[in-house]
């Protein structure tokens, strides 16, 4: 029989038990979960700040609809100006002052690299980092850091395979941004071509984001005599390269990265006629592409943007990106139920099978496992016909 003493002892222990539970779930209360993020809202990469804005708007919408499992999602997104020392400072502030549960969709390779050690040592999930650098899918060394978008090397390896299949005698020129993003494309291309075909790349031209134009580099690439041109560039420079390569009268098969395929921003800026024939690999839908007009996912996305953001945000590929990432996180939080400990959040994030996101291409799904930290690995080749992107081939998994 349980006597009064035991009962009292049990009752006295209860607050300690729930206190212990609370200590197991930093950043979480019965009413709220706090999540941290760093984004470049200022500085050279400020265009990507749109991703953070979208995610903030998305969770505001979720909160107004009642939150997730009864909890409000408090996403705290701070500016780091794409400067790693600032990222470290803001991350520490979020973890140590704001006591957030985990970090979500931090943007940029250097910022994520700068904070990866710190977060992993403290056992704090660094979920769905907003960068395609291959180094972030490394469960063996960094079990708390999970990727999101297909990595750049995968994409250019897909290009390499396509080149080998369609133009095995090609001479390739590569224009790349002189940072982790651009260099990863070069590495992926070389890996995809293989040692034996490494000689196919006859020209590598780099550029800095502080340069006004890359017309000079494009001229050099044409001058090398190449007949395949890989443009590993961010939107502004990709538009310049597409336009210039056309204006030069250069007959080459042009590949562009999935970062710069927006019809409304890049193709329009370059000139639809000049962008004809471009090839890219994509994993998502372009909101300005007429082919998706009746698609359910696009309609869902559109109604979100109409309600929560402004018209010009609709066709911005960064809005689409933020929307998908927020959708994914909301799904993860739902699946965690009431166990929002960091361990469980990581566990749920790394055990997703075949999840659809509204703006992913049909056939591309989220898949993670304890040995696979790249949620999106499938892409499909498509070519621009002057008005929209025509998919061809099968969905390829990298």
């Amino acid at each position: 029989m349980i006597n009064r003493r035991q009962l009292l002892a049990g009752a006295a222990a209860l607050p300690f038990v729930s206190a212990a539970r609370a200590a197991d779930m930093p950043g979480v209360t019965a009413k709220e979960i706090k999540i941290g993020q760093t984004m470049p809202y200022s500085g050279p990469a400020s265009a990507y700040g749109q991703i953070g804005k979208t995610e903030l708007a998305y969770f505001k919408m979720i909160n107004e609809q009642g939150g997730i499992n009864g909890r409000q999602v408090n996403l705290i997104s701070l500016d780091d100006g794409y400067s790693p020392p600032k990222t470290v400072e803001q991350t520490r502030r979020l973890i140590e002052e704001e006591q957030v549960s985990f970090m979500f969709n931090m943007l940029g390779t250097p910022p994520c690299l700068a904070t990866r050690d710190y977060l992993n040592q403290k056992g704090i999930p660094q979920l769905f980092v907003a960068t395609g650098a291959a180094t972030f899918s490394d469960p063996e060394h960094f079990k708390w850091t999970v990727g999101f978008q297909p990595n750049y090397q995968t994409e250019s390896a897909i290009f390499a395979r396509h080149i080998l299949k369609t133009k095995p005698q090609a001479k390739i020129a590569v224009l790349y941004q002189n940072d982790g993003f651009g260099k990863d494309y070069l590495i992926g291309l070389k890996a995809g071509l293989g040692e034996a075909n490494a000689g196919m790349i006859i020209k590598e031209a780099s550029y800095e984001t502080s340069e006004p134009t890359i017309d000079s580099q494009v001229s050099s690439c044409q001058g090398s005599g190449a007949d395949v041109f890989l443009i590993a560039a961010t939107p502004k420079f990709a538009a310049q390269a597409i336009r210039k390569s056309f204006d030069l009268g250069w007959e080459a098969t042009r590949y562009v990265t999935d970062v710069s395929l927006s019809i409304a921003s890049v193709m329009k800026a370059a000139g639809f006629e000049k962008a004809k024939g471009l090839i890219t690999a994509n994993y998502g839908k372009d909101a300005s592409d007429p082919r998706w007009a009746d698609d359910a996912g696009l309609k869902q996305y559109k109604s979100f943007v109409d309600a929560r953001m402004t018209a010009k945000d609709l066709v911005d590929s960064n809005t689409i990106y933020g929307y998908d990432a927020a959708f994914l996180l909301a799904e993860v939080l739902k699946r965690c139920g009431n166990d929002l400990s960091r361990e469980n959040i990581l566990k749920v994030s790394t055990n997703i099978k075949d999840l659809d996101l509204p703006m992913l291409l049909p056939g591309v799904r989220i898949n993670t496992s304890p040995t696979n930290y790249s949620p999106i690995r499938a892409m499909q080749l498509q070519t621009f016909n002057g008005t929209s992107w025509e998919l061809f081939g099968d969905v390829i998994t990298g």
Partner: protein, 323 residues
């Protein structure tokens, strides 16, 4: 109140800070000291010697990368790596001082501005990738506790920065109050008269460039250790501009000015961030504008910097007491 008393009190508070400040705040104040060292170096060059440099971010970068590479690729301990990297900065600054002799005011500003813009590109140069890690940067391990005493990483870094800052400030104070210091100011204010009096302007100016670069290098090395990471993105133009803002707002030709300036560039951008929260999420871009307004206001209220304000205050007070 004698200056020494103020410095002493300040030092005691600073030394005891790690006992009541948390890790994150210690990190911020370590950054303040790092910036203060860099600003002190820049102030020697621009404030005391009148040579305008917009490119000290580059020397900061050389110190940072130098220390990181020496620690990670060559296995040196940080207390050897930082001085060696800083020595390299001294040489680089000294050498840059030669063409700088021919360039006055604006032209020197432009040349150093170009230096600041070019630095990230040089750091990302693929020929150096084996050492610099290219765009992946270099991860720098944190130092072990000082003298084997019992302290955590944040306290270690903070005290390390404090000790180095104290030493360098003391050296700078001695320099500035000596004949050399007076020679520097003479060169700044009356270059022709100074030459006529036998001061070897060329020598002084180049050495000052070297010393100023040395200070920036030490700061950069400490920063590499404090942040634990260096990459080309850490050292762009905004850093050099922040240094210039720091010395002017802190106060030119003033030692405490370096500290005021460091406090400003470390904390005010965060205030600007927080102020714009009242505008809602769409105002994420606005902190820059708020910061710009603060810069203009700061100059309107204190054209000679915060140190200048204190000096004016001091004169006002002493005038009052003389009555």
């Amino acid at each position: 109140m004698p200056a020494r008393l103020i410095w002493g009190a300040f030092l005691i508070v600073a030394a005891l800070a790690p006992f009541w400040l948390s890790g994150y705040h210690l990190y911020q104040f370590a950054q303040v000291m790092i910036y203060a060292i860099a600003l002190l170096g820049l102030n020697l060059l621009t404030g005391y010697n009148g040579q305008l440099s917009l490119g000290h971010g580059a020397f900061f970068a050389i110190g940072g990368y130098g220390a990181a590479i020496l620690i990670v690729k060559f296995g040196l301990p940080y207390y050897a790596a930082i001085p060696i990297a800083s020595l390299v900065c001294f040489i680089a600054g000294f050498l840059f001082g030669f063409p700088a002799l021919r360039l006055g005011g604006l032209y020197l500003a432009l040349a150093t501005f170009a230096l600041a813009v070019a630095a990230p590109q040089v750091l990302a140069f693929k020929g150096f990738d084996a050492y610099t890690g290219g765009s992946q940067g270099v991860q720098v391990p944190k130092p072990g506790p000082l003298l084997g005493l019992h302290m955590n990483v944040d306290q270690t870094v903070y005290w390390l920065c404090l000790v180095v800052a104290v030493v360098l400030f003391w050296l700078a104070a001695n320099l500035v109050h000596s004949r050399i210091g007076r020679a520097l100011v003479a060169i700044r204010d009356q270059p022709i008269a100074a030459e006529t009096m036998g001061i070897d302007a060329a020598l002084f100016k180049t050495i000052t460039f070297g010393i100023s670069a040395f200070y920036a290098g030490v700061a950069g090395g400490l920063d590499a250790v404090a942040v634990g990471f260096v990459s080309p993105e850490s050292f762009g133009l905004p850093l050099s501009l922040a240094f210039l803002v720091g010395i002017v707002i802190g106060g030119l030709a003033s030692l405490p000015g370096a500290i005021f300036g460091a406090l400003f560039i470390e904390f005010v951008p965060n205030w600007a961030d927080q102020l714009t929260v009242i505008f809602g999420e769409n105002a994420k871009a606005l902190p820059g504008a708020v910061y710009g307004v603060m810069l203009i206001l700061a100059m309107a209220l204190a054209p000679s910097g915060i140190a200048g304000l204190f000096r004016a205050l001091g004169r006002f007070v002493s005038k009052g007491s003389a009555l």
